[in-house]
Symmetry: C2
Subunit: 453 residues, 2 copies
């Protein structure tokens, strides 16, 4: 490991996509930076490792239309993408039976379909009135922020339609609708183009994947930053020091301290809360970070000798309103040399899973077998990523806000505290919660710092 | 400051009432303990200091019927109590006008009164079905935990009746109804004997005060523990170490490390979350502590040369549905040598206060003047305690749970993680959130440890 420098211009905490974006923008402007990363790898909530005969993403893995920063970065770094597999029928499992369907909308009875369209139109209309940049300024913001998504969903008639919303919320946030402020939910949808865009493969956030996994992007990018990136260096404390022209911060990590003019904290708010700031941050920020909580998602990748689900005319995509698996996808390698299925255990099911580690792996395979036949019970390899057990993420995919956090304290999300700035996908105004949002946030924090130094 | 010992049997983190109770119980059983306290004082959310010519409580200050542990402790330590002043009329300020009333129920129109009684009866009936010890086992627990108190309150007809609930929730929790799980709220009411008992002076949780302030109790109690209590020693890390007969923990503080067989963490959950545990705690606990958030209350004490409000036949008690002050009390010293009023700015009003420190002090005095006359504008002294800005509390009076936290992860609240046990009033099953609950929790954690070592 390289020695930490004594002094740089800007210390960046976290080598996820937000931190790497901030570091790159600052370096491009001529600033000397140090990126301190707690883990022994870069990438944050992106994490690729070998499963079976290929490399698979156990964290973020998709790129969709409109994610222009990520598209440009990927192209610049020479990382190829390929379309998520969609040929064939999708399945809807409501516990009682498994139905086949095509297109974006699951197989429902006509009245349920009508209700689903109505619910989606209602959400779209509400979303259109909410500002993603400053949700608290939206008309009716306080009342929307006093409601949960569950409360809103009680208007939806049809148990199966409501169950579909549960699945979508679980997949996008890793929580149940009851845990989300309705205002925050609408702002998040707005930032990503709507509930369908966030839920869909074709034309949506799951449209394409990265050959060899998304971490290739982070790895190549970090290589450009060279010895400015320091691994296994969790930051514990950021203290303001000096006055006038000497004013700056001392950033203390397990590998030593660095003096800098400014710091950018590019990690999720609940994790940022654990870094001691001196002087203590304003009470409003202290209240905010206690009201942002990471979701829980367990990602299971099972590799097989052949893509037997394709033989049955199935695309591999399943929406299931009974657990533990709520969503499944064909996750084969780009060249099909390693066929694979991907299963998501999310929200409450993920937390239950966590209480007895591993006890549900058989349950996951049993569900895959219910959908695709007995061959699913015999994978060549299985990888399980339990993000809520990751001490340097505290959960996945994103920190969600509970009722009244946003209108009461939300302004502190992006507000610098003295010479400490905040990045991370939670602070983004476009594609909040996605890799794209992380990039936006890092660039924005870098601009703040460049204006100041 | 005394040197930290190298090794004890049990390290206790936090010298609030929970920590002191645990330490006392363990010492009584012959165990050698060390109490590590981050602040330079004991008492935690109890904090007394001079204002004008007497000592006043800027934190917890009341004892009510049924708080038998606190009553016994107070008596043993020779701390006298006296009744909270109640002679005279109470005031209800609904923004439009100020009305006088007597008794427990504010001055409302007959229909509003009927609705208020109905709402209280409904809450009592719901509360009676909820277990304070294990709320998640109550009938209908999952559905109750998916609702917020705000959602429940929408059934209440009458804006002024709902506003009174807002005031009560703000006073008891420092948050708005939208921030609370309905199940958690009902369990909390159950643990303290109901909403009226928690709201009332006579026969309720605000019945008596402590001569010279509640911290006298903590100070005398800590003196009994002598050099086992170490101040200015914030704990950063608790690592499991050793195996078999040598198995134990290493507790690292800013003043050095102590080896022990077990540790008891006796601080609020959001603060406990910031202590690094090695190995990392189970994901369920990680998810839980992200879903418990401290309330915000600003306590303002204004001292006067004479108790002019009493001349007007007022008890000093005011319920106000317009801010910033939501509640006021006569808070004169026991001997009336220092007349004083106490004003609470709570929940959203407290957070707004926090964004512009001090900007509302004039607003507080203006409200007191509206109720008690112009003399209120000229206090001899004013003390302001902004608990949300306290880095070693993160808020006040208690950590509240958002929807779905309790039924999903709540079991982890009291569940030891290896050799680390948890106390603090949030973990109590009787008088959760009160000094009494802190005492119960400390005694319970001490019993857990004694059974284990």
């Amino acid at each position: 490991m390289t020695q930490l420098p004594d002094r740089v211009e800007v210390v960046i905490v976290g080598a996820g996509f937000a931190g790497l974006a901030a570091a790159t923008a600052l370096r491009a402007a001529g600033a000397r930076v140090a990126v301190l990363e707690a883990r022994d790898r870069v990438g944050g909530r992106v994490w690729t490792r070998p499963v079976g005969a290929a490399r698979f993403d156990l964290g973020g893995q998709w790129i969709g239309p409109g994610q222009r920063r990520l598209a440009a970065l990927t192209e610049r770094l020479g990382v190829a993408t390929f379309p998520t597999y969609t040929a064939g029928d999708k399945l809807l499992d409501d516990g009682a039976r498994v139905a086949r369907y095509k297109g974006a909308i699951p197989a429902l009875r006509p009245l349920e379909l009508a209700e689903l369209h109505l619910a989606l139109r209602r959400l779209d209309r509400m979303m259109a009135r909410v500002s993603a940049r400053d949700p608290a300024s939206s008309p009716g913001a306080a009342e929307l922020d006093r409601a949960t998504v569950a409360e809103h969903a009680r208007r939806i008639r049809g148990r199966r339609v409501r169950a579909l919303l549960d699945v979508a919320v679980g997949a996008i946030f890793g929580v149940e609708p009851a845990e989300l402020s309705l205002l925050w939910f609408l702002a998040y949808l707005r930032a990503g183009g709507g509930l369908l865009a966030l839920s869909e493969i074709e034309g949506g956030a799951q449209e394409r994947r990265f050959v060899d996994g998304a971490q290739t992007i982070a790895d190549r990018w970090a290589a450009e930053l060279g010895d400015a990136v320091h691994l296994a260096a969790p930051v514990r404390r950021i203290a303001h020091a000096g006055t006038g022209a000497d004013a700056g911060v001392i950033v203390t990590s397990d590998r030593g301290a660095i003096a800098a003019r400014r710091a950018i904290v590019a990690i999720p708010p609940p994790l940022a809360a654990r870094i001691e700031l001196d002087p203590a941050p304003p009470a409003r920020r202290v209240q905010l970070v206690q009201r942002a909580a990471m979701g829980a998602i367990v990602k299971v990748i099972a590799t097989y000798d052949r893509p037997f689900w394709r033989d049955r005319g199935c695309s591999g995509e399943v929406v299931s309103t009974r657990g533990p698996v709520a969503l499944a996808f064909d996750n084969s390698s780009h060249d099909l040399r390693q066929p694979a299925l991907l299963a998501f255990v999310q929200a409450e099911a993920a937390r239950r899973w966590l209480t007895a580690p591993g006890h549900d792996e058989a349950g996951v395979l049993a569900q895959l077998a219910r959908w695709f036949g007995d061959e699913a019970r015999h994978p060549s390899a299985v990888a399980v990523a339990d993000w809520a057990a990751e001490p340097w993420s505290l959960g996945c995919p994103v920190a969600v806000m509970s009722p009244r956090a946003l209108t009461s304290t939300g302004a502190s999300l992006r507000e610098p505290v003295g010479r400490v700035h905040f990045a991370g996908t939670e602070t983004a105004t476009e594609w909040t919660g996605y890799i794209e949002g992380a990039l936006e946030s890092g660039e924005r924090a870098a601009r703040e710092v460049l204006r100041a130094i």
